[in-house]
């Protein structure tokens, strides 16, 4: 394999780009789960975001509308989940699974007319610096604005959950909805907001795939990334920073194993293909060994239906 510094820079840039959808979706889901809502519909919300973003870009020819629209559509889909689980008190797991199946089918239906249309170029920031500065250029420049947002998001989420009053309320609702309710907090409203926020982030994650990463619409293009994002939240023990680390490891090994193959390294390919999953689990298990800290972060009421006493 070629190991000059510039090449390593290109590699790191590629790893960052591949981890963006995971960071976005997992950060959104993390907020929902911290409020006690287990939404297994991540994949469905992502794919809806992907098709809406792409369709809007083709129809309006405006990338800004496309990005905002994808977030709105993710939000609307998650509203269905909210209505079912929060107002009609249905089971979180079953509803989330249904949402995924619904999202995949629905996106395929909307997408029928958008198959086979090449996407539009998404502006990349300071693309010229990417080439001119060795090593650091491809790491820091030539990315879309969504990538920079995604890399800031875990830190913002961390600050939000730990240092702000709203963050505290969300955690309180997730840990003990009954006590929170007794304190006068509107549990249902808080959970609704968190679900909608999660939906918007998943929508954005999908749009990243269809507008930037592989600029086109193809059925099922999320390819299971929603499920990986879900798993990341659990393995990261509901810590936003660990979500970032996990997403980078996953993206990193995925890209690296392809490069190792292309370089002709004689390692069994099946092992290489399984490596991203294995490594992510190992590393996240290792960094979250402190059981006290896990307990501190785990939303105790996760997935439980909250009945308000009347």
């Amino acid at each position: 394999m070629n190991f000059d510094l510039n090449f390593i820079g290109i590699l790191i840039g590629a790893i960052m780009a591949s981890s963006v959808p995971l960071i976005l979706a997992a950060s959104g889901e993390l907020i929902a789960e911290r409020s006690g809502v287990l939404n297994l519909g991540v994949e469905g919300m992502m794919i809806i975001g992907a098709i809406s973003g792409f369709a809007l870009m083709i129809v309006t020819d405006n990338l800004f509308f496309a990005v905002i629209g994808s977030m709105l559509s993710g939000l609307i889909i998650s509203l269905i989940f909210g209505l079912l689980t929060q107002s009609l008190l249905t089971n979180h797991v079953a509803t989330g699974l249904a949402l995924t199946i619904f999202g995949i089918g629905m996106s395929a239906m909307i997408g029928k007319n958008f198959v086979g249309i090449p996407g539009k170029e998404f502006p990349l920031l300071l693309d010229n610096l990417k080439e001119s500065i060795p090593f650091l250029g491809p790491i820091f420049f030539g990315h879309s604005i969504i990538l920079y947002f995604a890399f800031g998001l875990p830190f913002l989420t961390n600050y939000f959950l730990k240092k702000t009053k709203t963050g505290l309320i969300i955690r309180a609702v997730g840990d003990s909805p009954t006590s929170a309710s007794n304190q006068g907090i509107n549990v249902t409203l808080v959970r609704y907001s968190c679900i909608l926020y999660g939906g918007a982030m998943c929508g954005l994650a999908g749009a990243y795939l269809s507008l930037i990463y592989t600029p086109q619409w193809i059925e099922n293009m999320t390819g299971g990334r929603g499920w990986i994002a879900l798993a990341l939240v659990v393995f990261a023990t509901w810590s936003p920073i660990k979500v970032l680390i996990g997403a980078l490891i996953f993206g990193g090994i995925t890209i690296l194993q392809l490069h190792m193959q292309a370089a002709g390294l004689r390692i069994p390919v099946q092992l290489l293909s399984a490596l991203p999953y294995i490594m992510t689990i190992i590393v996240l298990v290792v960094i979250s060994r402190d059981s006290r800290k896990i307990k501190l972060n785990t939303p105790t009421s996760l997935g439980q239906i909250f009945y308000k006493e009347k």
Binding site: T214, Q216, I218, G223, L258, H259, R266, Q270
Partner: protein, 354 residues
């Protein structure tokens, strides 16, 4: 009372089912491995189905059926619901197709790219895609500046290995220095993974990207990176107008039409079909003029020779990676050898994943 009701209901349903079956019109079923909108493999099978439908024959299709237990369920369902002829269009449907065929002797089955015909109602058919790969190899060998060809491979089955070998042999013939770099992605269809693989190959110096996967993602990555590429299964030119030199097109329509008519008229017989450029089951999309008119002429000539049998993709001497002779000088590989091909020829790097 309740039991009596249930019993009568079942028998009524049974009778209804039988009478429906007896009066049922001729129906053809299709099982696809990907979505019809993949603009690759499944899309082309779907085009074939459209041609059958255009004859006024009723057809049904099920898309995105995973290769495995689900496949058997879907095929059985189609057979049970009165389909007379069922096309199963992916290699992984081989065992499920034969299993279901055993239980439905009156239904005809057509399995694509497989080799098992365990019952007299199962036919197999495939296309000689490797002839197209030979043309690709010729172009790649001439067009590469880095002498590195990037190849995105799906699963280590003979069909894929045959393509890699045919391409490499043809490229070596015009450019002895070429190297074929292969990335196995272990999927037929995952746009994200396919584009990551294409990017990895480009980052490692490949200036030609070829794929044996079904999405249009790799050619789009190639377009963006400014390297050459080839479309797979259908004409992908509009996804990468500058980068694509040509596409290998699978044209199933004539075969599907012929077999459907045969089954309807009762003349269907078990057979094993392997058609290529000659019969038109493998076709080439228009050649990109960017490669120069001389090269276009050369390739067109080679295409004619392959179709007429004057040239063969696997003409000896061919050696394996260790230097053992596979095909003697002057001889060509027979179909049996091609069908079971499981070694790389000399010049391909790496090992076949086991």
């Amino acid at each position: 009372m309740y039991k009596l009701f249930l019993r009568s209901l079942i028998s009524v349903l049974f009778l209804l089912g039988f009478s429906l079956n007896a009066n049922a019109e001729f129906k053809v079923g299709f099982v696809y491995v990907g979505p019809t909108g993949d603009h690759g493999w499944t899309y082309q099978h779907h085009e074939g189905r459209n041609a059958v439908e255009a004859l006024g024959i009723k057809t049904t299709y099920v898309e995105s059926v995973p290769e495995g237990a689900d496949a058997e369920r879907v095929i059985r369902q189609l057979a049970q619901s009165g389909h007379d002829l069922i096309f199963t269009t992916s290699f992984g449907y081989m065992d499920p197709t034969n299993k279901v065929a055993k239980d439905f002797p009156n239904v005809k089955f057509e399995h694509a790219t497989g080799y098992k015909r365990e019952h007299s109602n199962v036919s197999t058919y495939s296309a000689r895609f490797y002839e197209g790969r030979t043309l690709l190899g010729h172009m790649a060998g001439k067009m590469t500046k880095t002498n590195t060809i990037g190849y995105i491979a799906s699963f280590p089955i003979p069909e894929v290995i045959r393509g890699i070998n045919a391409m490499t042999l043809a490229a070596q013939k015009v450019n002895p220095d070429i190297k074929t770099k292969i990335v196995w992605v272990f999927t037929w269809y995952d746009p994200g993974k396919e584009s990551e693989a294409a990017q990895a190959l480009i980052d490692q110096g490949a200036d030609i990207i070829m794929q044996h996967t079904d999405s249009t993602a790799p050619v789009q990555v190639a377009e963006k990176a400014g390297v050459w590429s080839f479309g797979q299964a259908s004409d992908m030119q509009r996804f990468a107008p500058k980068s694509i030199l040509t596409s290998i097109i699978d044209d199933w329509a004539p075969y599907y039409v012929e077999r459907s008519i045969a089954a309807r008229d009762g003349t269907w017989k078990q057979q094993d079909t392997w058609h290529g450029l000659k019969e038109g089951m493998v076709a080439m999309a228009p050649y990109n003029s960017a490669m120069g008119s001389d090269l276009v002429k050369e390739v067109e000539q080679l295409q004619k020779d392959l179709a007429s049998g004057k040239a063969h993709s696997f003409t000896g001497p061919i050696y394996d990676q260790k230097g053992n002779i596979l095909v003697a000088e002057g001889a060509v590989a027979d179909d049996g050898m091609l069908a079971g091909m499981n070694v790389y020829v000399k010049g391909v790097e790496g090992d076949i994943p086991q």
